[in-house]
């Protein structure tokens, strides 16, 4: 039962190899002996602590007290051995660009090309070809390709999915339309709710009914299903969602309906709610199932084409899909549950940040990804991004909770706000500066792009403040027009505010940073976590310009700007584990604790998840995390509490109660004595890390070394709001910096497409993996 102890016990025996051990020892201060037969896997046992019980049976909820993480090297077994030339490739198909990251012996090669929307596989094949030429690799050298795509998300947003129908319980035709019967904005009389993916005329009902305990109240009317099948034929339906009430507790009616439909419509895609999202709450479950059905034909044909294309190009290696919870699944799983591909791009960024956390041995980070239109913030503890089980797709108002279609899938939890470089700054009728949520995008873009944009944006403010330089923007491909920026900021802000232009620009930066800081604070409160003492990991084009001010507002003293930050998601894909996560609803009171129900559920879920992961990562060490959703009876929200892997006994009620108390106090400071606690759901997550090597990323080698300062590239001026004047600063070029360099601020570091601002009172150190570590002096 106690996996952790055995893992630690085996730690030394598992540590292998001279070179690797030396690396390991250099990296983590551990002495190791042995030899490596092939490749190795680094896993942080701290992540496993989360999954397991200590000997006394009490759950360890968090590991925040641990400061020095322990790593273990797991011997690889035949499977995806990385030979000297073996390579892995991550591909992130985004809305504008398709990003590629190729790792060879832990060294990353990256590239990006424009996405081909009609057939995204074309850009992929083109990019792979470029990448092979640039690196001199051959397709046969690839041991693994990992792919994430916005295709699924976009199909839902743009209503470009299949002709899909829904079969549901009689009397419940409108579950998708009723939703929660509420409005997502209390003051907006003109709001529109998102339209269901299946119009009412394609929502068919059939007589059947289960009770809350899964027993049958009305039998399934098979004859009626035959009639529905005829209707589906008539309407030329490609894909159907079968959604019956209470099916999450008893799938029999749905399964029989599936058989009956298959008989009449052999080629049709069928999604069952009891398989796609077997959890209580019909609106969320049906919405998820319908979305799955909606994108399934599209994703299926795309993935087939992609696989065919790869095979023809000589890529014989396995293809894995990166899913929304930051894990990998085989293509066949993705074809069955394409809904899990939704929102995988941003998740890749969070996995990238987690990787940075791991190699820098940062227990608690705040991942901060700021691009052209949005900023995404994610809490990462012990190199594990925070997870959630509900996501909203296709929001009518992008940043308003409740305005989208719910998908009950495991996701990496992030807050996204409309704050990016292109966010438009204005003065409202109360004289308040506002930024976003609308963005000038890339066309016309900020005023300084000189593409006829006359709105003042965050990027324009950055340019005026001297944080961004006119020369060298976007790898030198673009020169920014300072005069256009000044004019826009003057007209839109400085004049109405009766302020000088630089101060108005400073106001814009302050407000966008305050909005992000508030989003981070509110997210932390909701998660019951603190921001103090965290390290900020900043990536995305606009993040390095604002990271230090944001950190200041949040009381954060240490900021890491990693290398390769522009293609973070694609790199994140390469670092993700093969993982599967599922959740089920149940009802168990602690005062009347019946472990049988839980044991049965856990066993079923565990076997299912292990089955999926083992086929994707044969021979790999698998980690299993079990959790229970618990709450006081009478409360509406539940919290996740870790449960030991293994058979639960009657007296485990006590340890579960203790674990719940601890988690509850952590979140809300106070307990409710005398109120019973209940378990309303359980989840199982199984993961297995694939090979990954990173000898080039010796983050710790030189962090403290005060190396020889590199040459100053040139001089510039930076606006100092407190002094009300511009001050001279030195500008360094990032590619001239070497590990070990130490430079006190204020300075600017010009990077590909962006600038890192190191203010007065801070200093930057270049780490072994070329990360910039900026700390308050």
């Amino acid at each position: 039962m106690d996996r952790m102890v055995s893992l630690q016990g085996n730690l030394m025996a598992d540590i292998l190899s001279f070179g690797i051990a030396a690396f390991n020892s250099a990296l983590y201060g551990r002495k190791a002996t042995g030899r490596v037969p092939g490749l190795f896997d680094l896993q942080k046992t701290g992540m496993m602590v989360k999954s397991t019980y200590a000997g006394n049976g009490s759950s360890i909820q968090t590991c925040s007290t641990r400061t020095i993480p322990e790593y273990r090297v797991i011997q690889d077994e035949p499977g995806y051995l990385m030979s000297g030339e073996a390579i892995r490739i991550g591909i992130d198909t985004g809305g504008t660009f398709t990003d590629f990251a190729l790792s060879r012996d832990g060294v990353f090669h990256t590239t990006k090309i424009l996405t081909t929307h009609q057939a995204p596989e074309l850009a992929i094949m083109q990019g792979l070809d470029d990448l092979m030429k640039a690196t001199g690799c051959r397709p046969a050298d690839a041991e693994l390709i990992i792919h994430g795509t916005t295709l699924a998300t976009n199909a839902v947003i743009e209503h470009k999915g299949a002709r899909v129908a829904m079969l549901t319980t009689e009397g419940f035709r409108d579950v998708l339309e009723l939703g929660s019967e509420s409005r997502f904005d209390q003051y907006d009389l003109g709001l529109s709710k998102p339209a269901p993916l299946v119009p009412r005329q394609l929502r068919f009902t059939v007589s059947e009914r289960l009770a809350a305990d899964g027993s049958e109240l009305l039998p399934l009317d098979l004859a009626a299903i035959e009639q529905v099948a005829e209707e589906l034929k008539k309407h030329d339906i490609d894909s159907v969602a079968v959604c019956f009430l209470h099916s999450f507790i008893n799938p029999e009616h749905e399964e029989r309906a599936e058989q009956a439909l298959r008989k009449h419509l052999p080629g049709i895609y069928i999604s069952l709610s009891s398989r796609v999202a077997p959890e209580i709450r019909e609106y969320e479950r049906f919405s998820t199932t319908v979305a799955n059905a909606y994108i399934q034909p599209l994703m299926d044909s795309y993935l087939k084409r992609l696989r065919e294309g790869l095979k023809q190009a000589g890529f014989g290696c396995p293809l894995y899909m990166f899913v929304s919870n930051g894990g990998l699944v085989e293509v066949d799983v993705a074809r069955q549950f394409p809904i899990r591909l939704v929102e995988s791009g941003p998740a890749g960024g969070a996995v990238f940040a987690s990787h940075v956390a791991r190699i820098h041995q940062e227990d608690r980070i705040l991942s901060f990804d700021m691009g052209g239109t949005t900023a995404k913030i994610c809490l990462v503890d012990n190199a594990e991004p925070q997870k959630a089980t509900l996501f909203e797709m296709a929001r009518a108002h992008r940043f308003k909770q409740g305005s989208g279609l719910p998908a009950r899938i495991p996701v990496i939890e992030m807050v996204e706000i409309g704050a990016g470089g292109g966010s438009i700054a204005r003065v409202d009728s109360l004289g308040r500066i506002t930024t976003g949520p609308d963005s000038a995008g890339s066309e016309p873009g900020p005023a300084c792009y000189d593409l006829d944009g006359d709105e003042a944006t965050v990027t324009d403010a950055d340019l005026i403040l001297g944080r961004l330089e006119a020369e060298g923007f976007a790898d030198g491909s673009m020169r920014l027009n300072s005069e256009a920026a000044r004019q826009a900021v003057r007209d839109k802000l400085a004049v109405p505010l009766h302020m000088d232009i630089p101060l108005a620009a400073y106001g814009v930066a302050e407000i966008v940073e305050e909005d992000m800081a508030n989003a981070a604070r509110e997210h932390a409160t909701e998660s019951g976590k603190s921001l103090t003492g965290r390290t900020l990991v900043a990536f995305g084009g606009a993040a390095p310009l604002h990271a230090l001010s944001l950190a200041g507002k949040l009381g954060i003293k240490r900021v890491i700007v990693p290398a390769h930050a522009g293609v973070g998601s694609a790199i994140g894909f390469l670092l993700a584990p093969v993982a599967y996560e599922l959740a089920r609803s149940c009802h168990v009171r602690l005062t009347d604790f019946k472990p049988g129900v839980l044991n049965k559920l856990f066993k079923e879920m565990s076997e299912y998840a292990h089955g999926i992961v083992v086929s994707g990562a044969p021979g790999r060490e698998r980690t299993e995390i079990r959790q229970a959703q618990m709450r006081y009876i009478g409360q509406g929200y539940s919290i996740a509490v870790d449960v030991p892997v293994g058979e639960l006994l009657k007296n485990d009620a006590q340890s579960l109660q203790q674990a719940f108390d601890k988690a509850y106090i952590n979140l809300y400071s106070k307990l409710h004595d005398g109120v019973d606690v209940e378990i309303v759901g359980v989840s199982v997550s199984v993961s297995a890390h694939l090979v990954f090597a990173q000898p080039a990323e010796l983050a710790k080698t030189a962090v403290t070394a005060a190396g020889i300062p590199p040459e100053i590239d040139h001089g510039a001026t930076l606006f100092d709001a407190q002094a009300g004047a511009y001050a001279d600063v030195n500008v360094y070029s990032r590619h001239a910096l070497q590990p070990g360099n130490y430079i006190p601020g204020p300075i600017l570091v010009r990077d590909k497409g962006t600038t890192v601002m190191v203010p007065q009172g801070h200093a930057v150190t270049v780490a072994g993996d070329d990360s910039l570590i900026i700390e308050r002096e």
Partner: protein, 552 residues
């Protein structure tokens, strides 16, 4: 190049940041309260308020929550607290409490906790929160009390915590008077914790900006917000308009009469002429009347301006004492939301005459909450002394919404709450909570008012029990005799119906028995239409027909 006034510009930017932070702090507090609450209306509909005040009792920021009943009732409450306990009598570690309906939000179930914040022994701010309790003793939540004394325990303004010492006597009295003592005690203490946490965040911010008071910030917030509202008001056509609404009422119709006057620097509403107080607990205190009326205005005028003493000040609302909209102690007030939910319709009817292209038609407005009770008190076959699993007493409240009024540029929303922000509970969750079966819950075709834009549809809801046992219905449904009216030539929505399935029509108000094996069937009202139906877009009409929402 740099103006020598840059210091004042800098201070102004700082002020803007602080304003945002204050709003963020109270929003954060509201969300925490929703997550921890035991009361379903707090967590499902956000029936709570969280706000920060300056030492003069002026509200500086308030969280936006799901029910309009708190729009300005919290703002009105804190000055009462300060007159009972002037700043000189407040000490660090104090927390004040009351549930006085006439001080805060209109019924005993809402408990308000106010907590002063000190910086170097000087009072700099107060945080307040008001939350609905699961139970407050008395008859329970419903309109059947004949006076406020029957409606539960009354807690005058007093110290709940005195310099860090919790008033245990008070807590014991509360625990001894409510049906769910642990939950109510836990909820009340969580308000103390929430206010304290917000206080710490405020002090952190003041340290960050080196502030020792909020005077400048407070004055700026209030003045800018007031000016912002005045600017919105100045854009409106001037004049006085009148409207009246007839509601089913409890035992006799209720008339809400209002006159709205737009002047240069204020909007005033007078409810003179409205029906006199009811003997049932559907009466409103003035605070609550003002909150709902204010909400109706703010949806149309200045919706983007944050709620604070400044933005609330140009709106004046009065109702004659003794009318159903302004009762005094000890009139019963427990179920005041039933009438309150129609006040936005009443004032928006006045605004529509000034702004015909901005105001929606009337909607179902009142929530159709199905309150039922079953078990031994209802079913003689159960043994009360020895309750088996089947014989347990249960009490359930299942929220359902009718249709909203058509908008000037789009259809109304079907089965959606307005003005209430209530969220319906999933059927699967309801059926796990008690022995009920919801046999049907779907849109009700043809229930909307026709128009260029049609109203939102109502819904049909069918409720039975799994073992066919009888149950009691505590009916509290409106718009069964008085439809949601259309606007600008749009037709009225359909009225609602309460009946036994395949059986008799029931009374929309009062306690009634649903016999063994019978099912309750509710047809919820639809929203009114907007504009002439002859102008309806042909594609929209076709789509409605295709979807069987409208038959012609």
């Amino acid at each position: 190049m740099i103006n020598k006034n840059f210091k004042s510009s800098l201070q102004h930017i700082e002020f803007q940041v602080i304003w945002r932070r204050l709003i963020s702090i109270v929003e954060d507090q509201a969300r925490t309260l929703m997550k921890t609450a035991f009361s379903p209306v707090v967590r499902e509909s956000g029936d709570l308020s969280a706000a920060v005040f300056d030492p003069q009792g002026r509200m500086l920021a308030q969280a936006i929550t799901g029910t309009p009943g708190h729009v300005n009732s919290t703002a009105a409450a804190v000055p009462h607290f300060l007159s009972e306990y002037p700043p000189a009598e407040l000490k660090p570690g104090d927390h004040l409490i009351t549930n006085d309906p006439w001080i805060a939000s209109g019924h005993l179930h809402d408990v308000t906790v106010v907590s002063p914040v000190f910086l170097a022994d000087r009072l700099i701010a107060l945080f307040a929160c008001t939350c609905h309790q699961l139970d407050i003793g008395g008859l329970g939540q419903g309109p059947d009390g004949k006076s406020v004394y029957e409606e539960g325990l009354y807690i005058p303004v007093m110290k709940l915590v005195d310099r860090g010492e919790v008033n245990q006597d008070l807590l014991r009295i509360i625990e001894g008077n409510v049906r769910t003592p642990y939950e109510v005690r836990g909820d009340i203490l969580s308000y103390v914790a929430a206010n304290e946490t917000s206080g710490v965040k405020l002090l952190d911010m003041m340290r960050e900006y080196g502030l020792d008071n909020l005077d400048y910030t407070g004055n700026e917030i209030i003045e800018r917000s007031r000016q912002g509202m005045l600017e919105e008001i100045r854009k409106l056509p001037k004049g006085t308009t009148h409207n009246s609404i007839t509601l089913d009422g409890y035992d006799k119709p209720v008339e809400i009469v209002c006159a709205l006057t737009v002047a240069d620097d204020e909007i005033s509403i007078d409810f003179a002429g409205s029906t006199e107080a009811s003997t049932k607990g559907i009466n409103l205190v003035l605070n609550y009347t003002q909150a709902y009326a204010n909400y109706g205005i703010r949806c149309v005028v200045g919706a983007h301006i944050p709620n604070n003493t400044g933005s609330l000040s140009p709106i004046k609302i009065s109702a004659p004492e003794g009318s159903i909209l302004n009762v005094q102690r000890p009139w019963p007030v427990c179920a005041r939301h039933i009438i309150g939910q129609f006040l936005p319709d009443a004032v928006m009817g006045c605004l529509a005459q000034l702004l015909p292209e901005k105001v929606p038609a009337e909607g179902a407005s009142s929530l159709w909450g199905v309150q039922i009770r079953g078990g031994p008190e209802v079913d003689a076959s159960c043994n009360y002394d020895n309750p088996s699993a089947d014989g347990r007493r249960y009490e359930m409240l299942i929220f359902n919404s009718g249709g909203t009024g058509a908008r000037p540029d789009q259809d109304g929303m079907s089965a959606t709450g307005f003005p209430s922000g209530v969220r319906a509970m999933p059927v699967e969750v309801v059926e796990n909570m008690g022995p009920v079966v919801i046999w049907r819950k779907e849109l009700l075709a043809d229930s909307c008012g026709a128009g260029k834009w049609r109203g939102g549809l109502g819904q049909v809801v069918e409720v039975g029990t799994i073992d066919e046992s009888p149950f009691l219905l505590f009916a509290m449904f409106d718009r069964t005799a008085n439809p949601a009216r259309g606007r600008m030539g749009g037709e009225d929505g359909k009225v609602g119906t309460v009946r036994v399935k395949h059986g008799k029509t029931l009374n929309p108000k009062g306690v009634q028995l649903i016999e063994p094996g019978q099912r309750l069937e509710l047809l919820l009202p639809g929203g009114g239409g907007f504009g002439d139906k002859g102008q309806r877009n042909a594609a929209h009409r076709e789509q409605d027909k295709l979807a069987s929402l409208v038959s012609d």
